[in-house]
């Protein structure tokens, strides 16, 4: 029998606000433990929550970008459980009246458009972190109270690859909207997956398990693949899947049971009496809708229409600053036909230089216009692609124009057929044996002659002309 998986994801998106969801405490990462706190974050007796309007605007922005209905009146609810990283003994969340409902996340997979429906997006506060050191456990509440959007999908996903691509699409979206810093290592997007299997084509749902702690695109794929295989093994072995919560252990590449349905906690949700209903004015929704940037799906499609592969388009769009750079470079160049070359330069040379320096596009000295000029110089035959790479490294380091570097270093391409023919003649004269072999049928030696000519011209000869002239003279 063949099986199909039914997968729904709950992704926690950390909103990049200056202060916490319900107090003025700062939210800086990597600070001394418990330094990003105040009486409200610490859950001190008497402290009260006041909701951060910036978190609301960011959540509304995500809701609108995913086509959700925005509730004009939603409610905060308390979700109760005891854990040392949860200072109040409850998390402020939203329950039966979430801010956003009925949207969708769209993306491309293998060139095909996909759409995963969203049940809801609600606001809540993050918990702190427990740090276990030997026999002692320590609590750091710097993360506690940071605003989160929990994005809950419908069970529309059918395999692990789709799930991972959904995560990437959501990541691109929140980066484009500039509502989340999108740093996966710092847990800005954290995913729980509900997974079940059923015979292919069946309409009934199987018993689901919830996978927790899958916090990278790669782990999403691996954990879900692993869980689907585990469930198939159980069912094919005559067993039954148990409804439970399982914790993914990335190091072991396996999951382990955390708690069963029977042990599931009763969160005793009720409306938080410290917080009035969250009222969203039409004016706010209209303003945010008017300020929405071009969304990743539209942007990738626009880039693809310029001749880029969808994967490359998505890669650029994933980092809005990179996509903006690309747009600026294409505009500066003036010819849309150069878009693919520009993208190749950005994803090749530019990206590798940035990676080498552990830098970002924002700090790059080469302006989009300078990159466009470099591409023009290649297209115009002023320099070869190979020389251009050297020029680019210089540009990246100095910020100088390609022209100036080419001039300074005398890198201009030799495109005078007479000059090239003289060098070719010289090379052929110096390698009589190879010439004889070539004429005897070893045409593979052409590359050898090209190399020799390039060497003599320090790579500045126009490669197209070199080839033509070599063929002509060798044929004589």
């Amino acid at each position: 029998m063949s099986w199909e998986a039914v997968i729904g994801l709950e992704v926690h998106v950390q909103l990049s606000t200056q202060s916490k969801a319900f107090s003025a405490s700062a939210t800086r990462f990597g600070q001394r433990p418990n330094s990003q706190t105040d009486p409200t974050v610490l859950g001190l007796p008497g402290a009260l929550p006041v909701f951060n309007r910036d978190a609301l605007e960011k959540a509304v922005c995500l809701g609108l970008a995913t086509g959700c209905t925005i509730r004009r009146v939603s409610r905060f609810a308390r979700k109760h459980y005891f854990y040392p990283d949860l200072p109040k003994g409850y998390q402020i969340s939203q329950y039966d009246e979430p801010l956003c409902e009925h949207g969708a996340i769209e993306f491309f997979l293998d060139g095909e458009p996909h759409k995963v429906r969203l049940t809801r997006i609600h606001l809540e506060e993050d918990a702190g972190k427990n740090v276990h050191t030997g026999s002692v456990s320590l609590v750091d509440l710097n993360r506690a109270g940071i605003p989160l959007c929990e994005v809950v999908s419908e069970p529309d996903i059918r395999n692990a690859e789709e799930a991972a691509e959904y995560m990437r699409a959501l990541h691109r979206l929140v980066r484009t909207l500039d509502i989340c810093a999108g740093n996966m290592e710092q847990g800005h997007l954290r995913c729980d997956a509900n997974v079940s299997i059923r015979p292919t084509g069946a309409s009934e749902l199987g018993t689901r398990t919830e996978l927790k702690n899958i916090n990278s695109f790669r782990f999403v794929q691996r954990a879900i693949d692993h869980e689907i295989a585990r469930q198939i093994r159980i069912v094919e072995g005559g067993g039954q899947v148990v409804q439970e919560t399982r914790l993914w252990d990335a190091d072991a590449g396996a999951s382990a049971s955390m708690r069963s349905k029977e042990e599931a906690e009763d969160y005793r949700y009720f409306p938080d009496p410290d917080l009035p209903p969250l009222v969203v004015a039409d004016e706010l929704v209209d303003r945010i809708r008017g300020e929405l940037p071009e969304l990743p799906v539209q942007r990738s499609q626009r880039f693809a229409a310029l001749g880029l592969g969808l994967d490359d388009a998505c890669t650029l769009v994933a980092e809005p600053a990179l996509a903006d750079y690309f747009d600026a470079a294409v505009t500066a160049h003036g010819d849309g036909a150069a878009a693919k070359t520009i993208a190749n330069w950005m994803l090749g040379e530019l990206q590798s230089q940035l990676n080498r320096d552990d830098s970002t596009i924002a700090a790059c000295k080469v302006t989009p216009a300078q990159l466009a000029d470099l591409v023009k110089l290649i297209d115009g035959g002023t320099i070869s692609g190979k020389i251009a790479k050297k020029v680019f490294i210089d540009m990246f380091a100095s910020g100088d124009d390609a022209d100036a570097i080419i001039e300074r270093k005398g890198l201009k391409q030799i495109s005078d057929p007479g000059a090239i023919e003289a060098v070719v003649a010289e090379v052929l004269a110096a390698n009589r044996g190879q010439v004889a072999d070539y004429r005897g049928g070893k045409t593979g030696l052409l590359g050898f002659f090209v190399g020799q000519v390039m060497k003599k011209t320090r790579g500045q000869a126009n490669p197209k002309l070199v080839n033509e002239i070599l063929r002509k003279l060798l044929a004589e």
């Binding site: 859950g43 001190l44 007796p45 005891f82 109040k88 009720f270």
Partner: protein, 494 residues
Amino acid sequence: MADLSELVSLSAAEAARKIAVRELSATELCKAYLERIFEVDPHLGAYLTVTPDRVIKRATDIDIALDRGETLGPLAGVPIGLKDIFVTHGVVTTAGSKILEHWTPPYDGTAVERMNNAGAIALGKLNMDEFAMGSSNENSAFKPCRNPWDTTRVAGGSSGGSAAAVAAGLCAVALGTDTGGSIRQPAAMCGCVGIKPTYGRVSRYGVIAFASSLDQVGPLTRTVEDAALVLESLCGFDPLDSTSVNRPVPRYRDVLDKGVAGLTIGLPKEYFVDGTDPEVRAAVDAAVEVLRGAGADVTEVSLPHTEHALAAYYIIAPAEASSNLARYDGVRYGLRVPEGSGDASLLDMYRRTRGAGFGTEVKRRIMLGTYALRSGYYDAYYRKAQQVRALIKRDFDNAFERVDVILSPTSPTPAFTLGDKTDDPMAMYLADVFTLSCNLAGLPGMSVPCGRTSAGLPIGLQLLGKPLDEATLLQVAACYEREAAWPRAIAEVV
């Protein structure tokens, strides 16, 4: 120097006037109060913490500033007491519970800050029922607070320490909190004025939460004028409390002389039924006649859903309390009873800490509230109780279309004997039957002394008002106080 008992008998307004004109020094007044506390309080148990060094330091600072000619706040130099539910920077704050026995807060709440800014001097922290859960102060984890007029009797609760201290001259005024009657009922039993403003009128920031949608801060005083004076400094919008009301605060003292002519007072028939002590009933009837004589119209009104108030209250308040008290887990502050060893050690620590830290009544309410909120029962209990609450609110809205103020007894009985009701929670809950509807509806409510029983126990007259209309309550109360002219004296105790 004036006689000690004369000094502590001054009202806050009188004391503030004398201090402002340098007829009296803040230090002199504070020393008189401290001396009386050390003499009298061992017989009462009104204070949990007294901070003499801080008091003298602050009084000295105020005297120096006044001598220099600086203008300070309207309560400059007035010694006040704070129910131990108010978070005070650097001064232990317990909420009457073992679980916070040694907790020293790192911040001041808004009400405390406003009192400080007004120039008041906090003498210390006052006894209360644990987490404000109780009507007799017998649920304090540390000691009961006795009634200064008869120390075999309770002071009322939960702000028992506040009421007893004001009545016995152990502070000029006190701050309390009222969730179901916790200011008005002890004020009635101790013969003080007590007012619970409209929900949201006073910030709850820095007030240890019992039931967030019902809790409200207010003063207990010896005169209506003092209540008006304190309210002017206490009320007003606070951006740190999301339920705070952003509306201007009137100068309440301006309404005190206006009288009651032209006002209509409503007597809810559901509050004038059998079960009220005959002496209480007689005193309230007499008070109605006093007000009628002063020109008020008096008419009967109906609050038909009154009989459901107690049930709704004992769903909503425990539900919110069970949630608010979840933070006392031994992890960050307060009591921690060390965990055992093994896998279950964290759970053990929670169980032992909360088992040892909370008293019987608090545990009872946590269990009631946890039960009411559990999955699948929310609609039947909490939601239903909120619906009842809406009906109770509507009853009041309807009544207030015809009347300006609603009048009733504050408590069905005068102060009862210590231990009388401790084994019968239902009997104890019924002590709040006239007061808790006001909290459910979020309205302002007040208790004013209206005479004594033959045994000399104080009786309280309750006035309920329209939302944000504290002024009319104070206006009626001041008129009654003037017309009835009951002798004003502090309880001697010893």
